[in-house]
């Protein structure tokens, strides 16, 4: 029978807390950059200008159809050989997470925008609005409301995906758990605490997503 012993783990609680903080920083940072890039990618795809639209779609497919871990390894270990200079692990991590997020957020944006009835754009055009005014004043405000559930779900995934950057030694939550395990030789406790920490952070967010989703449905 296994004897649980959390005492050594709790002694390392500052490592877990720091790791959780770093995880939040990478999540928020990559979501922020990913949203901006994702919106640009989405506009590029909807631009109707062939080459720009294809390029954006190609980028999206590349990042959606390869594993995030492979992207991370490629950008950290392979890309520097082409660039001629090394990337710091934090930079490789942030770049990869952001580009990956952008590919998925672009699809969330695009889905929201094309779900808005064409009559809305026409009504804007009919009072003399420009394309950009229609997007900003009429389409996006409605589309953003509709895309909130998908946005929150994608962001929850983004939070969990940060665990992968531990393989290039970024000291986020998962990396810290492996450090604690190395020091205490207590993998069961170390990784259980790790899983519980992810859960207590994400569970309320997914509940919040459910509430938003039911409200969105109720509104239409």
């Amino acid at each position: 029978m296994y004897t649980w012993s959390f005492a050594p783990i709790f002694q390392a609680s500052d490592l877990f807390l720091w790791g959780a903080w770093i995880t939040v920083v990478y999540t928020v940072g990559s979501i922020a950059i990913g949203l901006v890039l994702g919106l640009l990618l989405c506009f590029a795809r909807l631009s109707g200008i062939g080459p720009i639209s294809w390029l954006a779609q190609g980028f999206q497919e590349l990042f959606r159809c390869t594993p995030l871990l492979v992207q991370l390894l490629w950008i950290y270990y392979a890309l520097p050989l082409l660039l001629g200079f090394d990337l710091a692990n934090w930079a490789a991590a942030l770049i990869t997470l952001s580009l990956y997020a952008a590919a998925f957020y672009a699809e969330v944006f695009r889905g929201g925008i094309i779900s808005i009835d064409k009559g809305q754009s026409e009504a804007g055009a009919a009072i003399g609005m420009s394309g950009w005014q229609i997007m900003r004043r009429i389409v996006l405000p409605q589309a953003i409301r509709r895309m909130m559930p998908a946005f929150i779900n994608q962001s929850v995934t983004q939070f969990k995906n940060t665990s992968l950057i531990s393989v290039i030694s970024v000291a986020e939550l998962t990396y810290m758990a492996s450090i604690v395990n190395g020091q205490t030789y207590r993998p069961l406790e170390s990784y259980t605490v790790l899983a519980v920490l992810y859960f207590v952070i994400l569970f309320p967010i997914t509940k919040f997503a459910d509430i938003v989703e039911s409200r969105t449905r109720g509104g239409h």
Binding site: Q120, E122, A123, A125, A126, I127, G128, S130, Q142
Partner: protein
């Protein structure tokens, strides 16, 4: 009423040889129509005759393949901003309003916000002035007490009256009304037609695509009968609707008199 052919009246909007196809289907075979100031033109015809496509060409929501649209004698170009001798789409639409079959109100805005959107965003009017103008038109369509309501709290007839107020708040030179009662329950048609009748009496220049034949007879100066993407007949309401000599038109009208 008689056909308004007086040359002293200014031409507001004109279509010359407008053609349009969707894929292999040619919807408009070269339509000419000019609209003089204060005139009310009703376009009637069977489904698929190209009426709606044509009225949408008049403010370039559909871009004609050939032919041209002129606003006060200036040819309208394909771009939002004008340039050289071409008038931009933005400017055309600031002066020529449109009301749609399915209202197309902005659901994330209140009644008042819907109506001030154009004056503020497009005409760059100060908010106070825009609200004054908007409330004036909202009151004219009889919805002053609904100023803060959301579109989903309104009946179809109320929605369409807000849509008319939204178009009027731009203080347009002419209005295009595309089957504006077709999506309404029968008991709500009257309130919308009443608003249009008032506009006609006040001299608003209008083109209306409609299935309401008796209303067309009542409110218009000229009736245009379209069939198969062409203007098959046009003239005074009395001649076109009550004494038709065109066989196709007779067949079409017989369905309404039955």
């Amino acid at each position: 009423m008689t056909v308004s052919t007086s040359s002293t009246r200014e031409t507001v909007l004109e279509a010359r040889g407008v053609t349009k196809s969707f894929g292999a289907l040619t919807v408009l075979h070269g339509i000419d129509l000019s609209l003089t100031s204060g005139e009310v033109v009703a376009i009637i015809g069977p489904s698929g005759s190209g009426k709606s496509t044509f009225i949408r060409c008049m403010n370039m929501l559909e871009v004609p393949e050939s032919g041209e649209i002129l606003y006060r004698g200036r040819r309208v170009g394909p771009k939002f901003r004008g340039g050289g001798r071409l008038l931009g789409l933005g400017e055309l639409r600031r002066h020529v309003g449109m009301v749609f079959q399915h209202f197309n109100l902005f659901p994330h805005m209140s009644v008042l916000e819907n109506v001030i959107e154009g004056p503020i965003t497009v005409q760059r009017k100060p908010r106070g002035e825009a609200v004054d103008i908007a409330m004036d038109y909202i009151a004219k369509v009889g919805l002053a007490e609904k100023r803060d309501a959301r579109p989903d709290q309104l009946s179809g007839g109320q929605k369409q009256r807000v849509a008319i107020a939204r178009a009027l708040a731009m203080q347009p030179d002419a209005l295009l009304l595309d089957e504006i009662t077709s999506a309404l329950d029968p008991e709500l048609v009257g309130e919308v037609l009443g608003v249009v009748r008032n506009l006609a009496e006040q001299g608003m220049t209008m083109v209306l695509v409609t299935h309401e034949i008796s209303f067309a007879a009542d409110v218009s100066n000229r009736v245009v009968f379209m069939e198969g993407g062409r203007i098959a007949d046009q003239g005074s309401p009395d001649r076109v609707l009550h004494n038709p000599d065109n066989e196709r038109l007779k067949t079409f009208l017989a369905r309404f008199h039955a």
